[in-house]
């Protein structure tokens, strides 16, 4: 990277761009910079390559296996004894909940939303004459800027005016999930998946499974994942992998 490049030196901005956490204005300013600075674009490309590959690697290593604990040799025996005791306690704790010891971590991973669905704000024709659409457009501008707290009331108002507008229901459900409020998001996503026909069916089931994972309702989460697999779309493979991971958990309700 060019040492004189201040933007490139700001590693944070590159990561936030890659993970879609920059505001629209920030992202556009950064993209303009990428047109001017080849070294930053190259840096972004290899980082993107790394991010894609990390995402692709389905089998994720257990964090604990990679942690290097630098205890001194003289404490090694004591440390090992403490660790064995702790492991036994952890095992008993999870056993009492009917799950394997690493189940919580697996469910957390399955509940993780990753990058939220992308939305590019744009002028919606006819929005000015239709209050519901106007509110939706305003809400989605907040959503695109990752201001989900601000997006929710606007989308709620839009949904009250036009309850059948599926994009409103979908992004409202997603916003609640991002805000870690699965109970509030589930009814909207259920509304989305029940609509027929609709282009949100697959995404709706996918994010509904995430909501149920967040609530630790594995049975409903599995049902949603099976629906995703059944639709055989772009999420089918990922959903199948999630189902396989779910099967590795003990005592999953059938």
């Amino acid at each position: 990277m060019d040492a004189a490049c201040k933007k490139g030196a700001d590693q944070e901005i590159m990561e936030r761009y890659l993970t879609g956490r920059l505001s629209l204005e920030e992202a556009e300013a950064f993209e303009q910079h990428l047109l001017e600075c080849q070294s930053c674009f190259s840096e972004l490309q290899w980082r993107h390559a790394a991010a894609s590959e990390l995402r692709r690697q389905a089998a994720r290593p257990a964090v604990s296996s990679g942690r290097t604990i630098n205890y001194g040799w003289r404490f090694a025996t004591a440390a090992a004894a403490v660790m064995i005791l702790m492991a036994a306690l952890v095992y008993l704790f999870f056993l009492s909940r009917g799950l394997k010891p690493d189940s919580e971590a697996v469910i957390d991973q399955l509940a993780s939303l990753g990058q939220p669905p992308l939305y590019l704000p744009s002028t919606i024709r006819g929005a000015k004459s239709q209050p519901a659409l106007e509110l939706f457009a305003k809400g989605m501008r907040e959503y695109a800027n990752q201001k989900y707290h601000d997006a929710v009331p606007l989308l709620e108002s839009a949904a009250r005016l036009d309850p059948d507008h599926l994009p409103t229901a979908f992004y409202l459900g997603i916003s609640y999930l991002i805000l870690d409020q699965p109970d509030a998001g589930i009814p909207w996503l259920v509304k989305v998946v029940r609509a027929d026909p609709n282009p949100y069916a697959e995404e709706g089931h996918w994010y509904l499974s995430k909501a149920y994972f967040k609530k630790r309702d594995l049975d409903l989460a599995r049902r949603e994942l099976e629906a995703v697999v059944g639709l055989n779309g772009s999420y089918a493979d990922t959903a199948q992998k999630s189902l396989e991971r779910l099967k590795t958990l003990r005592d999953v309700p059938k």
Binding site: L35, P61, G114
Partner: protein, 189 residues
């Protein structure tokens, strides 16, 4: 494709400076494809946006519509952005013309479609480089790149100090880059 030579010659005159038209594609093409792909999530459409943008920029240069060469990147970006917005406008029009297709405007979100931007060989290289990192380093990068977590979030999740996360991450990135560059040189990619 960008024409190799125009009727006015390869170079477009821009108030005292000349810009090599044939190098515009090389200079801006990959970036435009990348930006378009992020927004449209459609590989052929992204390529089309890049082609049309470059042609429009060349035309503007020939017409002397750009007075300052330093503003060329901003100009290219503005043209590309307009091309993308035009596609969005068309989608809205289609949706309005046919209410049954209304939802087609909202294209399904596919996780990481830009991954198609990478060559398979390049991907393998990165995979090999990642495999040579320590598992904890991989996990930090994954949480950071894939889940978009901040240093503080990662530190909390992995029960580590923030400084330790920062140190391990920057070490992992430097190591990954070193391996990647070394492998790239070896494979010539």
């Amino acid at each position: 494709m960008i024409p190799a030579r125009s009727s006015k010659g390869t170079f477009a005159k821009v108030v005292g400076v000349s810009i090599d038209e044939t190098r515009l594609g090389e200079r801006f093409g990959p970036q435009i494809v990348y930006f378009a792909l992020r927004r449209l999530r459609d590989w052929p459409l992204a390529e089309e946006v890049a082609q049309k943008t470059l042609l429009a920029v060349i035309q503007a240069l020939r017409d002397n519509r750009l007075r300052d060469e330093s503003k060329l990147p901003a100009f290219v970006f503005a043209v590309a952005k307009n091309m993308i917005l035009e596609i969005y406008r068309k989608r809205y029009q289609e949706a309005e013309a046919n209410p049954d297709l209304e939802m087609n405007f909202f294209k399904p979100w596919i996780p990481d479609p830009e991954a198609g931007f990478l060559l398979e060989e390049q991907r393998k290289e990165v995979g090999r480089a990642l495999a040579r990192l320590r598992p904890i380093e991989r996990e930090i990068l994954r949480l950071s790149f894939e889940e978009g977590k901040t240093g503080a979030d990662i530190a909390k999740e992995l029960r580590m100090g923030q400084a330790a996360v920062r140190k391990r991450k920057s070490r992992a990135l430097a190591r990954l880059k070193r391996i990647y560059i070394k492998m790239s040189r070896k494979t010539g990619l």
